[in-house]
Amino acid sequence: SVLLYQKPNRDICQSGTSLKIQCVADSQVVSMFWYQQFQEQSLMLMATANEGSEATYESGFTKDKFPISRPNLTFSTLTVNNARPGDSSIYFCSSRPGTGVYAEQFFGPGTRLTVL
């Protein structure tokens, strides 16, 4: 298994500001994933981040709005630029031990963001 920690647990920010969400794994992992979840709705994959390369973004998410860094095999940062009330949601990072497609994916505790 892999344990994931996120910081902060929650944040409240003003529209137009930027904020960073950190994700730390307790072991080295190849891929880290970032998800967005609106209240009791689906987990939407935002991007996949591998060490040393640019993150791969899913449709509807852009590098300019949600830049992601992955400087090493245990760490990733998601930034929300020019935050808007519509960005208010929970952000989860996730990863899995190993590289098989059948490997269980583990999730961090989530960061609840409220944009005023």
């Binding site: 891929s31 709705q41 689906s42 996949t48 098989g100 497609v101 490997a103 269980e104 994916q105 505790p109």
Partner: protein, 115 residues
């Protein structure tokens, strides 16, 4: 691309009754890997169970599901619901194309079990 459909957004039932949450999928790959994740309030989503070979049942914590490739389904079942089963349940499909472990999630089903 891959897709997962969960037809029920909300299921409410009485404790002791059977549970069935529907999940169907679409993928071009002949050997899909399906997962059920459970998400309790104020916790992280976690794996409940994952598919095995075609027509083989997998079980965990009283829940079971069988992958049926003929109908592209992986429905979640339990014989007797408990109050503690109340949660959000996601069906997910692993991306066989990129081999990154990327998951495509269904919209989720909120299960509420009442006394």
């Amino acid at each position: 691309g891959d897709s997962v459909t969960q037809t029920e957004g909300l299921v409410t039932l009485t404790e002791g009754l059977p549970v069935m949450l529907n999940c169907t999928y679409q993928t071009i790959y002949s050997n899909p890997f399906l997962f059920w994740y459970v998400h309790y309030l104020n916790e992280s989503p976690r794996l409940l169970l994952k598919s095995s070979t075609d027509n083989k049942r997998t079980e965990h914590q009283g829940f079971h599901a069988t992958l049926h490739k003929s109908s592209s389904s992986f429905h979640l079942q339990k014989s007797s619901a408990q109050l503690s089963d109340s949660a959000l349940y996601y069906c997910a499909l692993s991306d066989r194309g990129t081999n990154t472990g990327k998951l495509t999630f269904g919209d989720g089903t909120v299960l509420t079990v009442k006394p």
